[in-house]
Symmetry: none
Subunit: 207 residues, 2 copies
Amino acid sequence: MSPRTQPGRTRERIYQYVRKQLQMGQPPTVREVQHAFGFRAVQTAREHLERLVKEGLLAKRPGKARGYCLPAGKQDGPPPVLIPLLGHVQAGNLNAAIEHPESYLPANARSADKLFALRVRGESMLGAGILPNDIVIVHSQPTAENGEIVVALVDDEATVKRLRLRRNRIELHPENPDFEPILPPPDRCSILGKVTEVRRFIDSPAN
Amino acid sequence: MSPRTQPGRTRERIYQYVRKQLQMGQPPTVREVQHAFGFRAVQTAREHLERLVKEGLLAKRPGKARGYCLPAGKQDGPPPVLIPLLGHVQAGNLNAAIEHPESYLPANARSADKLFALRVRGESMLGAGILPNDIVIVHSQPTAENGEIVVALVDDEATVKRLRLRRNRIELHPENPDFEPILPPPDRCSILGKVTEVRRFIDSPAN
DNA sequence: TTATCTACCAGACAAATGTCTGGTATGTAA
DNA sequence: TTACATACCAGACATTTGTCTGGTAGATAA
């Protein structure tokens, strides 16, 4: 007989394991739970799972392979999607850049279809807490609300700015007093999308 | 014999169906695909799935129930890991907080074992571009280098600050002139880890 | 002491599931 | 015409997977 843990301890860890697997889109079999926790009997794993169902933490489709799931309404959301981090964006080659990204960023989102990521260059958005080399995740859309931070294409150059909607044109405002707003003619500017997330990887310190 | 569709048409719809099921954490069996598309033979569904695998749009674990899945991220790296976002951290309950996370954040990392995430409260790190409600991803370690941004536990309270190492003590410096450095006695302060990433979710604009 | 509960093991069996083999039917190219 | 490719059907079989039955062992309460 294997060593035992205190009541409920292993079951809690099994709950987290199942939850994590479910979020990755890979619901486990009872035997996979068995092996993940080193039990020698399938029934051990099953009993923990059944207790979790009884406690309302898990639900299940009886008799179905990989049938344990989260109760309806307790979804952590869909598994991560991979958002393409684009190297360089110019007018006309957004789709090509999406298909040849520099790398991918995982994110919790329903779909990556309308999402892409860019590196921020320059310090025009310092006041909004967006630093050079930060990565912005962008939801592709041709318009945005007044005040939203957008990625716009101006004269072939992508830029991150705060959108200001005026009566007959748009303005792209920096968040840094050292920079001037951009007031592009409409035929020379298009909105690529709205910034929905900012990410920064922190390396070694400057001291 | 049932009516036929033009080549590739049904397969495209099957691809979208499988993808959607996978994103919901419910990978389908071959027979579920069969029934979803009204085929009378399992093999019809299977052949479409196998063609999708051959085209690289799907991957699969052979012989496993519900084994069709999306290809591993179209990149060479490992699949994303899920980093626990902790709700509240106090001395002594870090492990408990990790086991009851508020949610998970996907990230490209070898392992999530030594990673956790916290929400930033307050404005003491504004100057470093870290705003209130930002999320910091932390690599668990008891020490860090001079100048690194760390999460430390001071008198039961977790705080994000820049570490300054002095001869016989550590200092926790804000990046905002409105705040004073923290000079804790060593027995009342411990380093939980080093900040490796900052994330910010941007909601509706303030106008 | 017995009774009960929890955490584990072992084995067997039924059903779900993946897989294979053999086939029809249609369209296109040689 | 034949050959080939694609989209479908039908049936059988092997394996995976869920489930059940019977058990040990430890802790606690009556």
